[in-house]
């Protein structure tokens, strides 16, 4: 890397008042033709480009992004990373990502602030207890760290939780994955963008895809707001807008796009040093390094591309948060926003070829794609480069909706979707 970040570069730049740092990635005009084009410059798209260049020597590629890097769901999520999924296929996929997370800052020479502070999932009724115990066993059989905690152990691990038996949904227990945690979401996009750019990948921002050119059953290129760009391989990683791209080639996907909200409070001193999620009451909370409480709300239950979301959804989440953490009752919420998530009927992603030659889709991550960013990029790059899926994403093909081999993580996963 031409401009490696280190303690020495930090000291050197301190002498010039940090005014001479080089830009982290170029701002190129699109070439006439690329070996592959990734549509969507979010974390997953940039990671795909990075691994295409790094592992598959495809450096004549571009990432086209309608807005700016990290301006979509990558910069809008609640940054939770975990791999405690029930089914074998999901466990393989998400733990693959978690293993890459563990060395990602070193690999990218960019501090993604990955913090393995643990993720605790609460049980509020007898069925929750049974489900979480079952998931703990399933996780351990798949080599994923998981422990089941009773109410006292939950209280010990996170003392501010209200474990009184007299609340509407009392805490009956929980699971803990200690390797899980959070990362700085923008840094992930920036780190991958810088890494991909250094290997020659063109990252083209403010370039919206308007159409996909096809000849017969293969793709020929994309029409964009910056003109036509020729390519034989297109990887679509457009999250909530995946169906918009798919409709350009009359391809129907099993997706519905909905607004998902998050909000942060005013910054306060350290009060919660882990991530606590609750499926039954739909509330999850962690604290950022700046001190803000980061709270995830639910999705609006209708298709919408408005990137805002409804007030009643936020209200429902905050009610649950307040019952679980009475200590937060006087906190002020500073910012609220929405992102558009593409939800599959089985709440599992699609990382797949399509019936159109050279057109690949990585979508359907729904409400929980951030955690999978490195693994998703790695496996999608493999799928594009070899025109064949890796064994870890073979089960996440688009044909599972025809064959019926769904990876049903709805409710089986640690949080409701």
């Amino acid at each position: 890397m031409k401009n490696k970040y280190s303690i020495f570069s930090l000291i050197k730049n301190a002498f010039s008042y940090h005014e001479n740092w080089q830009r982290a990635w170029r701002d190129p005009e699109p070439k006439k033709e690329y070996d592959a084009i990734i549509i969507g410059g979010g974390g997953h798209g940039l990671a795909t480009a990075y691994y295409l260049a790094k592992k598959h020597n495809m450096t004549n590629i571009a990432v086209v992004e309608k807005g700016w890097i990290g301006g979509g769901n990558t910069g809008r999520n609640t940054t939770i990373i975990r791999s405690n999924y029930l089914w074998d296929a999901s466990a393989g996929l998400y733990d693959h990502a978690l293993k890459i997370w563990e060395g990602l800052s070193q690999e990218l020479n960019y501090n993604v602030m990955f913090s393995q502070r643990g993720v605790m999932n609460l049980a509020h009724n007898l069925q929750d207890v049974r489900d979480l115990k079952r998931r703990t066993h399933a996780n351990r059989l798949n080599g994923i760290d998981a422990v089941y905690l009773n109410t006292e152990e939950v209280k010990k691990f996170c003392p501010i939780i209200n474990t009184s038996p007299n609340i509407r949904y009392p805490v009956l227990g929980g699971t803990l994955q200690k390797r899980a945690g959070t990362a700085r979401h923008d840094a992930v996009a920036w780190g991958y963008a810088r890494g991909a750019d250094a290997m020659g990948v063109d990252i083209i921002q403010n370039c919206e895809v308007k159409g996909i050119k096809r000849i017969g059953d293969s793709v020929e290129g994309i029409e964009t707001t910056k003109g036509f760009i020729k390519t034989k391989k297109i990887g679509v990683v457009a999250a909530g807008h995946s169906s918009v791209i798919a409709n350009m080639v009359d391809l129907k996907l099993p997706l519905e796009s909905k607004p998902l909200q998050a909000l942060v409070s005013e910054p306060v001193k350290p009060i919660i040093d882990t991530v606590v999620m609750s499926n039954a009451v739909h509330a999850y909370v962690s604290q950022s390094d700046k001190g803000e409480l980061v709270i995830g709300a639910g999705t609006d239950a209708y298709v919408s591309y408005t990137q805002r979301g409804s007030h009643n959804v936020v209200e429902g989440t905050l009610k649950a948060i307040l019952e679980l953490y009475p200590i937060f009752s006087r906190m002020k919420m500073l910012r609220q926003w929405g992102g558009i998530v593409d939800i599959c009927p089985d709440a599992s992603p699609i990382i797949s070829k399509t019936h159109i030659k050279g057109l690949y889709f990585n979508c359907g991550w729904g409400t929980g794609g951030f955690k999978a960013t490195p693994g998703s990029g790695d496996l999608f790059a493999h799928t594009i480069a070899n025109d064949d899926p890796h064994k870890l994403n073979a089960d996440f093909n688009i044909n599972r909706f025809v064959s019926g081999d769904l990876v049903d993580e709805h409710g089986a996963a640690a949080v409701a979707h």
């Binding site: 918009v244 409709n247 996907l253 519905e256 298709v303 979301g309 593409d342």
Partner: protein, 91 residues
């Protein structure tokens, strides 16, 4: 969050309603003769349009009746509301 003009009850808050997805997807008349591809198409595949979409809604916390709606999903503006069985008032 928006207001919906229920054809039976009048204007109410959206939180009283539940969305039933894309409208005018006809249930196959002879399910036994359907191929897996056709089942997948009926059950799962959606246009998921960004723009004007035809959809079904239910006044779940009101009259509990189903009806159809034409809504722009890019800004949540409702263009028309019409009863089940009626033809869409706009194309």
């Amino acid at each position: 969050m928006f207001l919906i003009n229920c054809p039976y009850c009048g204007e109410r808050d959206q939180s009283e309603f539940s969305a039933g997805g894309e409208a005018h997807i006809v249930r196959p008349k002879q399910p036994t003769e359907l191929s897996d591809d056709q089942w997948a198409e009926f059950l799962f595949m959606r246009k998921n349009i960004k723009g004007v979409q035809f959809e079904r809604w239910n006044h779940a916390h009101g009259c509990r009746k189903w009806f159809n709606m034409v809504r722009d999903t890019s800004n949540d503006k409702i263009h028309a509301v019409y009863k089940m069985g009626e033809k869409p008032p706009i194309k």
